[in-house]
Subunit: 413 residues, 2 copies
């Protein structure tokens, strides 16, 4: 068996994927396998019992949003009775930041990989502060979610269609020349997104007040493009999944309790272990003790070769996640050690336009003892609070070791 | 006489200036000393006889725009007869990129320095390609100028006022964290500008089609914010001008024939010498032999501590002006040698957030033999053609030597 050839194919497919944001649709209508009683969440599979505080908070909020529960006790009862089911976003070609909750009537972005034809989905970004994805579910959070579903989402959908879609790969490539790394720092990407949308929003919005509100919501949210970017990374990573004999990681995701990976040549099996605690900078009044375990599907960015792997492009991010500009450079340099390829389209100006490290090779992780570095937001450990900081985290080494053992068993090495 | 103290005051005033874009107005109505027959141009004073090709082209275009001439021959006659007068933008608190032509009925940006109260002005940016500022004046160029004056400018003006003004210093500070240097690369700044404008454009535009056109014109022009940035730099530099005993350069400008500087402690006297030929990258089909001499007021950016001085912030610019990312770092490092201060608000992430070199000291230029490095666009040497490249250039050393001699004479050193 030729692992090198398989890995070349997997990473080439990831890099040659052409993810285009084509529209917005209702999760129930567009996400494959979505059902009336199904709630998608970040990371590998999880039960209510094992779920972290922010995950429980987000499930509760999503159930209130859908009119199925009034509080956390009702939410718990619905989930534990099996009346409401939980499944990973990743089982449905989807990704969601932090808790990643995606419920049947929520609007989601639709991304299509024009090279290989696969589609992917992600919910809309709520902005900063009190937000469902960090486990908050106050009246304010729910009102905002309804406005997003009733006004923001439909207008964005019409604007995206009016513009003939937005090439997210080109957008990302440009944002990496503008100080973004595409995961925690999406400042440039979000205003490039605004730039692509704005003329169409002005045209399609039902009135000038709505256009104004939508343009303000996108322009004021430096993470506005994170969800389309995540869906684009999912489309790229999925294009590299399922290559017989490949040791390339095609999924990394966390649910607040477990960190799970999937490997291109090992089908849909999860290799999971306990999540780490992010190290970083906390908002005033909070410390590391308040932090939840690592959570979210946003590590799909590192899986696709951006995020912390592209940190050398984003020296200014260290004011947000801690460290020095030199650490940002070193993070990227270290990641070349465990990745199979250098990206053909995502390049890093301060490293003489070298391609970003792309395609984590589980063999290299185990051989070098270097686990992937991941950028992340930090949620409060309790349901209902929200974001308290941002930083860096590493996945547990054991998941890569287990995956490598499984690879050896499957392929009889 | 305490030169150090004077220079501290001059550079502190430059750095503490707070330039805010407050609106748009007709040049004749808002620019101090503007007259019906007055045409403002870039650089130090110039006559038709000594004017370069692109300057003559731009004067011709502006006269056609105003309905005063039909072609270059008529333009020449009007200027040489004295019926139409030429004066530097800089004599009227104004700046213009490349030829910098500003005619009485053109709309201009109005910037106000909220700290010291002085105002500054700049014309609107036309975008790339065939444009008046590079000396082109075809029907297309003139139609576009009329649309800018009739539709774009009034809408921008209303949007700026509706938003309560735009803090250009804050915008620049953020753009330097996003890979801009604020002179040749204004990609991030221009979409930050779009972000600030978009919700208000949607509200104030006379209809959704106009809003769409204006948002497209701004979003598609990666130099859209250059002119407000230049006006902001002019407001900052002017705040540092006129400090008795200061050796800080408060103006650098070129008209295509002469490169001129003015010095804070030496009043309004120009020290001028022949312009250099920019070195850089040429568009396909053009070579250095086709290039005009260095032209434009846009060196006001370097005068205020950004542009080439901040190139370490903008490694991706080298794809546009030539060189390597390391050259970009070295350009900034070299400029620390001849500048008096490090900027308090404009910082460079790859240099551990060190402030940009700010306040060129004519003593240091002469002592070290290092002239300022300047980024620039390159115009075709003939009238009517337009931009043919971009690159780097240095001013003639003699202007700094003459200024230092004049300083010694004035202050009896």
């Amino acid at each position: 068996m030729d692992i090198e050839k398989a890995n070349t194919e997997a990473t080439e497919r990831m890099m040659e994927a052409q993810p285009v944001l084509v529209g917005v649709g209702k999760a129930l209508d567009v996400i494959p396998g979505m059902r009336e009683n199904l709630f998608l969440h970040a990371g590998p599979p999880i039960t209510w019992e094992r779920a972290s505080g922010p995950m429980r908070g987000a499930i509760t909020g999503a159930l209130i949003f859908e009119g199925k529960a009034k509080d956390e006790a009702e939410a718990k009862a619905l989930v534990e009775s099996g009346e409401v089911e939980l499944e990973p976003c990743h089982h449905h070609q989807s990704v969601g930041p932090m808790a990643g909750l995606t419920s049947p009537s929520m609007l989601v972005y639709i991304v299509e990989n024009k090279t290989h034809g696969n589609k992917s989905y992600s919910n809309l970004n709520e902005g900063y502060g009190k937000v469902l994805r960090y486990g908050a579910y106050s009246d304010y959070v729910l009102e905002r979610l309804h406005w997003m579903n009733d006004v923001l989402g439909p207008t964005l959908g019409d604007a995206i269609e009016a513009g003939g879609g937005i090439d997210i790969k080109a957008l990302l490539s440009e944002a990496l020349q503008m100080g973004d790394e595409g995961h925690n720092r999406n400042k440039a990407g979000s205003i490039l997104y605004l730039k692509a949308l704005a003329p169409h929003v002005a045209k399609v919005a039902k009135d000038s007040g709505t256009a104004c509100d939508v343009l303000k919501a996108i322009g004021d949210n430096a993470l506005a493009v994170l969800n389309p970017v995540m869906a684009a990374c999912k489309a790229m990573a999925d294009a590299g999944h399922g290559i017989e004999g490949s040791t390339i990681v095609s999924t990394m995701a966390r649910n607040g309790t477990d960190f799970g990976i999937r490997v291109s040549g090992l089908g849909d099996r999860w290799f999971a272990g306990p999540v780490g605690q992010p190290k970083g900078l906390y908002f005033p009044g909070f410390t590391a003790e308040d932090g939840s375990g690592d959570i979210g599907d946003s590590t799909i960015t590192e899986t696709a070769g951006i995020g912390a792997f592209a940190m050398a492009s984003a020296p200014a991010i260290i004011t947000f996640v801690s460290g020095t500009p030199k650490d940002a450079i070193n993070t990227t340099l270290e990641m070349y050690e465990i990745n199979f390829a250098e990206h053909k389209y995502f390049t890093i100006p301060p490293l003489d336009f070298r391609g970003t490290p792309t395609g984590i090779d589980i063999r290299k992780v185990v051989e070098t003892g270097i686990t992937p570095r991941l950028n992340t937001g930090i949620a409060h450990r309790e349901a209902g609070v929200g974001q308290i900081g941002a930083g860096l985290v590493r996945p547990p080494m054991e998941v890569f070791e287990e995956a490598l053992v499984a690879f050896a068993e499957k392929y009889g090495i």
